[in-house]
Symmetry: C2
Subunit: 571 residues, 2 copies
């Protein structure tokens, strides 16, 4: 049956006959007359029913009626100029008393929301989030299609992939005793696809990691995966990715991103913001004031500097009035990062500091000058290993900025973090900072054999408002180099063959230079929706124990099913 | 580095400096001069190299050079007017001797193709297939987005779904002894999504079935899944789906489909074509000639008709000359369908028949008239239970039409098959013809209690050239009716609660009438690509034993992994 859309009726429709169908959003009975707010996907309109059967919230009804102007306009509704006098009412479906309210604010526990997700998703905010997610995906596909990218589906039933987290396994029935793995990412498939002549590949794809769930992780999540052939330098990829990001922000939430994006080397990000995903929406940059203390009177700091350490300083706007107690709490936080303590300079009426008389007024002025601090501000100082000092101050920077409401909520600060080290210290051996397929920078190749820790990678993260949105790299496309990297990572020849043999062989039949990136789609949509959890932008997420309260998955299975798979539960 | 596209160079480029990169498609060394066909994603261009290092097929090179007009044009290449004189050549990657040829026709075994898929996918036909698949998906999304549909992702780690095939199981580590199932389709999730106010839902989604693989099945396959709220009659959905199908055919392969599509009731499809997925590209309709035999002289046929059976007749154009031996083979095929035998009428110089003198010339003429057979044709007759007679003849119709090249290969014959029965005979009990969530037709509801076999369903298949492309239905949206259907299917209250309790509850909180459909995407793309197997349109398909020769999945896993999952292999 042809029906009109609730949310689209306006003054001009007055007098028109309409057919509407939807959910009873709110209902008021006023002695024989019932006022119903009827909701469909387009919005809400007020109905007037005379002598109608009793209606409850979330009943599904269909009405035929006439639009008329309201006596008292409701300015809070786009349809507030009119109402619909219902002449026929048909109840299509009844709703029992609701365990959660669609129309009101306040929400029950997340467990209840997920168990009754079909009610929870009806809330206007969740409707908006799912539609926003769809808009973002459409924008991604439209942009990449125009740029000549081909979306290719890669297998879900595949082989263990090299991301290092635990795989979800799927027992094979036809080949008992063997297992598929669900992909942690299509990393090797995408590299094989560009090697297969799909020079511009992308995919919006489900990925799986069997991790101990904490914070805002999901066992299955969605990634925008992308790869291009004939790339040797990240800068060849950035304009395209910046175009993508700005297009998606514009089309999805109407935000304009200024391009090109800044590039920030990893070392600078750590030094100035104490993080490899700095929030650049606000200042409070960390300054290096080591030179002021190198030959200075404060022996402790001078020794740190002489030993290769640094003295770093964080300006705190308007912080001069902080009490000793408050400063002690900040110090405690810094100690959590392994610093012995925290020094401070207050630029109050007078300039005071934790140094007492040991440090001259000139040095205090120089600290203020180098951090850009002004009268009324506080400067916090940390001395120690450079990364430790900066990371501790970076953490305080975020806490204090949030506390002081210094983070503009309407700004979008995007930046590339580049020049990551190729390796990091693992448990007794080197590990990949990103993953083992990342290419070293050409000029750093000589260090591979001598001092791998000095080798920088051709990899890059896209950071938005202090959150890592995407991570990528130029890949290794020569077998010999790939094998050398495996050796440095302690992956022996036999293990390399067993885990990655098929991929190493693919490099031997004409593999072009290539590179790519993967965006965390759930996180991107979450940010654009202004939500704090990815569960708010996933239709049917799991709890932190990996359970789905709606379907009660995972669940026990019949013994017969296990027998077919050649499996037995351990007692 | 900025590079030009090999396949786009034309006469006008003569004299231009270009940079090209790609794969060595073919190579000929002519004493100091090397001619290379260089291939990238855009096509092929001829290079002329002087004193170059030896190159092999599928080496990856980059060259800088100058475009010049060819002396002898090569009309078989779009770039055949020009060649590129290479001034600098850089070998980016070497290829070993190839296990399969990218440039030549002839192919090795499918096992070898899949093992070296990165070479196989470079072949122009596979490149075209993957790009065509991408185009089809873009067209689907563009159309549905314009029509207000929202793509929503549903879980892959979920609960056993009701399709009736075997589930792939995924053991949970956090809740040992329990399992997720990979979805056979998002059937219940999509019904829950429209119940959640996503009035127009779609998803291009991976589905999984652990079946014994035969013919052209894959353990994972892709479906276009679609659902709409406030539908009660299939006719409300058809215009939209027809618009979708015609848009996708046009945008993907430039074929125009005439709309609206014909609707063919299930009973007619069986009667006239002996199949619920008739190939309508050609005639050879099966006729019912029972009335000619009801009172006729042929006692055997008269008895069949009297007992509720039928005599059905298939015209075979130009078949009058078939020998006894050929007819015997056709009869054998019919016997495979459970028919005792096959009668025939030859409209040759004289009219002859297998009936000898038992059937009059007038009756033979009437048979010819009712089947539309002409001089030179053959008519095959089958007597028996109506479906059996028609199905046997329907099978012969397809075989003979193919053999006689009567199937126009450039036609696209689409039709809706409607009015399927709701139930079919299963092993000792009724089964759903489609699935248990299909709504009965309103006018047939009274039969549900009395004679369920008479109940027709609000379901529909979209058939293309004899292949089922999509299948859908209006769903049940009331719990009582859903429970009644479960009872008829022999699903007791406890089983219904255990398997579908969460879904039954969702129907109690305001579920609108709704319906939808699912398209087999792999099959659709296969048809548009003119391929005979879905493996030709899937980047990394599995063999018929569910194995991936590229990655050697599925594979054994460490015992430690199983221990973490609380599982043990059966000895």
């Amino acid at each position: 049956m042809q029906r009109d859309k609730c949310g689209e009726l306006r003054r001009e429709a007055a007098g028109r006959k309409v057919v509407l169908a939807g959910w009873v959003h709110r209902v008021r009975d006023l002695g024989g007359i019932t006022f119903v707010d009827l909701r469909d996907a387009s919005g809400i309109v007020q109905l007037v029913l005379r002598n109608a059967a009793h209606l409850s919230r979330e009943d599904v009804i269909r009405i035929a009626g006439t639009v008329r102007l309201r006596e008292a306009r409701n300015p809070s509704l786009p349809t507030g100029d009119i109402e619909v006098e219902a002449e026929e009412v048909e109840v299509l479906s009844r709703a029992k008393p609701l365990p959660l309210s669609v129309a009101e604010e306040g929400l029950p526990s997340e467990e209840t929301r997920l168990r009754y997700r079909y009610l929870d998703l009806r809330r206007p905010q969740m409707q908006r989030n799912l539609r926003l997610r769809h808009r973002a995906c459409m924008a991604i596909r439209t942009y990449l299609d125009r740029e000549g990218f081909v979306e290719v589906e890669t297998p879900m039933l595949t082989r263990s992939t090299p991301e290092g987290a635990r795989d979800f396994l799927v027992p094979s029935r036809l080949a008992r005793g063997t297992f598929y793995a669900l992909p942690q990412s299509p990393q090797l498939f995408k590299q094989i696809l560009v090697t297969s002549g799909i020079e511009r590949y992308f995919q919006i794809v489900r990925c799986f990691r069997d991790e101990d769930l904490r914070a805002d992780r999901q066992p299955e999540f969605t990634q925008l995966d992308l790869e291009m052939a004939f790339l040797e330098d990240p800068e060849e990829l950035f304009p395209l990715l910046e175009g993508l990001a700005s297009y998606v922000f514009r089309e999805t939430i109407g935000v304009e991103i200024a391009l090109p994006l800044p590039r920030l080397p990893y070392a600078e990000a750590i030094a100035h913001y104490g993080s490899d995903k700095p929030d650049l929406r606000f200042g409070m940059e960390i300054a290096d004031v080591s030179s002021l203390f190198a030959a200075g009177p404060l022996r402790l700091f001078a020794e740190v500097v002489a030993g290769g350490g640094a003295v770093r300083a964080l300006p705190v706007p308007g912080g001069a009035g902080r009490s000793r107690g408050e400063l002690a709490k900040l110090e405690e936080a810094a100690q959590g990062h392994g610093l012995p303590g925290l020094a401070w300079v207050k630029l109050g009426e007078a300039v005071t500091s934790s140094f007492g008389k040991h440090v001259s007024a000139e040095t205090l002025s120089a600290i203020a000058a180098q951090t850009g601090a002004h009268r009324g501000d506080l400067v916090l100082l940390a001395a120690g290993r450079p990364e430790v000092a900066s990371t501790a101050l970076g953490d305080l920077r975020l806490r204090l900025a949030a506390e002081l409401s210094l983070i503009p909520q309407d700004r979008w600060a995007l930046a590339w973090i580049v020049d990551f080290p190729l390796f990091k210290e693992g448990e007794g051996r080197l590990e990949s900072e990103h993953h083992p397929f990342t290419s070293p920078r050409d000029e750093d190749l000589p260090f591979l054999a001598r001092d791998p820790s000095k080798v920088r990678a051709k990899c890059y993260d896209l950071v938005v408002n202090g959150i890592e949105l995407a991570s990528g790299s130029i890949r290794i496309h020569r077998r010999e180099l790939q094998e050398q990297i495996f050796r440095i990572l302690g992956i022996g020849e036999e293990e390399a063959e067993r885990r990655f043999g098929f991929f190493l062989r693919a490099l031997e039949y004409g593999a072009p230079p290539h590179g790519g990136i993967a965006f965390g789609l759930d996180r991107w949509v979450m940010m654009m929706a202004g939500e704090d959890s990815i569960r708010e932008v996933i239709a049917f997420p799991k709890t932190t124990t990996g359970a789905c309260p709606l379907t009660d998955a995972p669940a026990p299975v019949d013994e017969g099913q296990l027998r077919e798979l050649g499996l037995r539960l351990e007692p």
